[in-house]
Amino acid sequence: MPVVAIPALMRNLTDGEDSVTIPGATIREVIDNLETRYPGTKAKLCDGDRIHPSIGVYINGVVTRVGMHARVDADAELHFLPAIGGGVVSD
């Protein structure tokens, strides 16, 4: 199952866990399943039904460009970090 690294400032919602395994074949499924297990997490990562524009989703170390639609391998490692734009970081 994909491993989700929990952002430091979100670990209050995951009983202090810094990394959890969550089922899902797409980012959308993983986030929905994360929300089911740890309510409140989706609101931190998403703006409505898309990834919050200030967040970059890393799948196995590579930033995805298709957000919620990105496919996730069974052993993928996911990180949610500040998005880096054209030399800009949005806050």
Binding site: A5, P7, A8, L9, M10, R11, D18, A43, K44, D47, P53, S54, Y58, N60, G61, V62, V63, T64, R65, E77, H79, L81, P82, A83, I84, G85, G86, G87, V88, V89, S90, D91
Partner: protein, 751 residues
């Protein structure tokens, strides 16, 4: 991707396509643009760093002969509580608009208040002095630590500290707090035999491009707005104009003219919306130019910062824990690059236990803008100085400690993600084996220092079309502003695919009506991502040309191959035709061939650099002279090595300026006292030796030729490398930038 492939075009050094225009003075930059009936605009700026605007009376200016129109924030659409989506993140529309023309408060000296259009630039300037503005002056907040004090004057009443969605309960100048945590920081320090903790301060510095901002705007009676300007990204200008003016994107055309440097500072718009407002008000084309003081006082510098770094290591040099707290000045509105700095600071080192806190803090200075690897230089000044001290205390060679701890493919970055194939170790090895590192350097007050640096690089959107000409040349159309030779580096990638010389590709950068969306020239992305799009568009041309050859020979497409610029028939007929000859036969085989590609590639790969510098410190004056400089950098694959070297050399020299001289000097009222090129002292060629740029090539798996962006990371190591060299020379650890003569004399106890 094939390693060790022989290339015909890539890796060569052709004359750049726009070169003749640029050495003959014919290239048209933003300020050079002329159009019939042109009016000239001028912006009135706040003389106060923090003031409430009580009233603005423009009547005397409007009555001045030659004045055709005056605008203030009243002419901007209502922005309260709206969110602007600029594609790269949501920002408050009010902040965006208020930075164009202040509505209620002036938040820094130089903040735009009003603007005039007149028949002549001198008349516009005179008229600005006739605008009567009544201010209620407020105490300014000028430094990040002061701004974080609980009793600091509040700049924005509505800002509450945000931490990943949680917001504080009272107004604060701290707009946001971010945190990265890995492993167990306490355990890491417990395991260390030595722990070093230092604090660092860096000054406000400017990108320092030689060309001031400029814009010419025209509204046609049908509502079409055209803006001619120099910018790092015509499409981001279009997006910002659409949001700020609340105007449909379909009615805005942005024409990018040649640009005289940007370094991140020509992404945000300043006078472009002002030119548009003046054009609308007057019904005439209006050109607005900044002067140099406007550029310093009214456009994004890069943040001053206060950074603490604590690192622990075992006796044998293994780094066991790394902790930092980084507070960055955002300027007047939130949005410093503290996030990027926080993600870069420990990235070169594979460290199990990490704790990183970052704070984005508003102060009464211009809203900061990106500057070449934004945030990473501030960060590396701290971490790379502390690592040098660890190495010294442990009696380990400073490059050796980097090799021992350096990140490799498969290691996890301090902020989490796993590294793909990267070339950090290779840059350290290249520095170590360079003759510079072992050259004698024993003179009194001479010293040698090293430092490394990391920058992410980015991908983002690029579009390219390629039109085949009947003589076997192609016209390549792209949307990436060419700031440093990217027409050449993009064209060369298409030429390599098509098997034609670089000179047979004619690249043109076009306006927003003429090419698909293309993100800014920034993030070291252009040769990588637009080059990738050129590669794919050229592949599209090849596919179509194979169809044409098949038609010509009446064979199946599967039986046509393309190698080394020749199409040939396999499995049967013996046919062969060159790219050039087939180009002449497109009419008879189905008409023109246009290749196209759009890209949003994810695998930009990371960029690493390791620098070695020798300095001489003058004990009498405190002046630091750069005696020798060697910069090694992983470029993945250098498409045009001369321009890769140029990026490295230019970045190094900006870093030298940041290290030794450059800073905004403020008085207590918050006025910048050195807003000229005389007093804001950028390096001249007399201050420098040749810069030895050593290109290391560890191919990036995320690009067909292995390209990594090269533009940004070279600015990251210099301040730390020079601080370490100064220590080697005189035994003093400098922890404040710039390390100017006065600071050095003070540190040496001479004054």
């Amino acid at each position: 991707m094939s390693e060790k492939k022989e290339y015909k075009v890539i890796g060569t050094r052709p004359i750049r396509h726009d070169g003749v225009d640029k050495v003959t003075g014919r290239a048209i930059y933003g300020a050079d643009f002329q159009i019939t009936g042109l009016l000239h605009g001028r912006v009135l700026r706040s003389p106060h760093a923090h003031a409430r605007i009580v009233s603005i009376d423009t009547s005397r200016a409007e009555a001045h002969p030659g004045v055709k129109g005056v605008v203030t924030a009243q002419d901007l659409p209502e922005a309260e509580d709206k969110i602007a989506d600029l594609g790269e993140g949501a920002v408050s529309l009010k902040y965006l608009c208020d930075n164009i023309l202040a509505s209620d408060k002036a938040l820094y000296k130089g903040h735009a208040i009003a603007a005039v259009a007149a028949t002549d630039p001198h008349i516009a300037e005179e008229a600005c002095e006739l605008i009567d503005v009544e201010y209620e002056v407020l105490p300014p907040v000028l430094e990040v630590r002061a701004a974080m004090e609980p009793d600091a004057p509040i700049i924005h009443e509505n800002i509450r500290t945000s931490s990943l969605g949680e917001t504080g309960d009272k107004p604060s100048n701290v707009a946001s707090h971010i945190q990265f945590k890995k492993g167990d920081i306490e355990k890491g320090f417990d395991e260390a035999d030595i722990v070093i903790e230092r604090e660092f301060v860096t000054g406000t510095v400017h990108q320092g491009y030689i060309e001031p901002h400029n814009a010419t705007a025209l509204y046609n009676p049908d509502g079409q707005l055209t803006v001619w300007c120099s910018t790092q990204g015509a499409f981001t200008v279009r997006e910002q104009l659409a949001e700020i003016l609340q105007y449909p994107i379909s009615k805005i055309k942005v024409v990018p003219l040649e640009i005289g440097g940007g370094f991140g500072g020509k992404i945000n718009v300043y006078i472009k919306p002002v030119a548009a407002l003046l054009a609308k008000k007057t019904g005439k084309p209006v050109k607005v130019l900044m002067n140099r003081a406007d550029v310093f006082e009214g456009t994004g510098p890069t943040p001053a910062s206060y950074i603490t770094v604590k690192m622990g290591a075992t006796k044998d040099g293994k780094i066991t824990a790394a902790q930092t707290s980084m507070a960055f000045e955002a300027g007047a509105y939130p949005g410093s690059p503290v996030g990027a700095g926080a993600m870069c600071i420990f990235a070169p080192y594979n460290t199990e236990n990490v704790l990183i806190d970052g704070y984005d803090v508003v102060v009464n200075k211009p809203k900061t803008a990106p500057y070449r690897a934004p945030g990473a230089t501030n960060a590396a000044f701290g971490s790379e100085t502390v690592i040098d001290e660890l190495a010294e205390e442990l009696n380990i060679d400073p490059l050796e400690i980097r090799l021992m701890n350096g990140a490799k493919e498969g290691d996890h970055r301090a902020d989490g993600p796993v590294f793909p194939r990267i070339g950090f170790i290779e840059t350290v090895e290249a520095a170590k084996s360079h003759p510079h590192y072992t050259a004698p350097n024993g003179k009194k007050h001479h010293g040698r220092g090293v430092a490394s640096g990391f920058w992410f690089n980015i991908g983002l959107e690029s579009s390219v079309t390629i039109n085949v000409n009947p003589d076997g040349t192609v016209n390549l159309v792209e949307g990436s502003t060419d700031i440093g030779g990217t027409r050449a580096s993009i064209a060369m990638q298409a030429a390599e695919v098509l098997g034609i010389p670089a000179e047979s590709v004619n690249p043109t950068v076009v306006d927003t009506n003429s090419i698909g969306y293309t993100a800014v020239t920034g993030g070291s992305r252009t040769t990588y991502a637009t080059g990738y799009a050129a590669y794919e568009a050229a592949q599209d041309v090849v596919r179509q040309m194979i169809e044409r050859a098949a038609k010509l020979w009446d064979v199946d497409e599967a039986n046509v191959q393309f190698t080394d610029g020749e199409f040939s028939s396999i499995n049967g007929k013996e046919e062969q035709i060159s790219f050039r000859d087939l180009s002449a036969r497109l009419g008879e085989t189905g008409g023109p061939v246009v290749g196209r590609a759009t890209m949003n590639p994810a695998g930009a790969g990371g960029a690493f650099a390791t620098h070695v510098v020798d300095v001489a410190v003058d004990e009498e004056t405190g002046k630091v002279e750069i005696l020798r400089y060697t910069a090694t950098q992983d470029a993945g694959k250098a498409i045009h090595p001369s321009y890769v070297e140029g990026q490295i050399q230019g970045g190094v020299v900006q870093g030298i300026g940041w290290a030794l001289n450059e800073e905004y000097i403020y008085n207590d009222e918050g006025e910048m006292t050195n807003a000229s090129f005389l007093d804001y002292r950028m390096p001249t060629c007399l201050d420098l030796p040749m810069i030895d740029a050593v290109i290391v090539e560890v191919p990036n798996p995320g690009h067909p030729y292995g390209v990594r962006g090269v533009g940004e990371v070279p600015i990251v190591p210099p301040p730390a490398a020079i601080a370490n060299a100064i220590y080697d020379a005189v035994g003093i650890r400098m922890t404040e930038l710039p390390m100017s003569p006065d600071r050095l004399l003070k540190a040496m106890g001479k004054i």
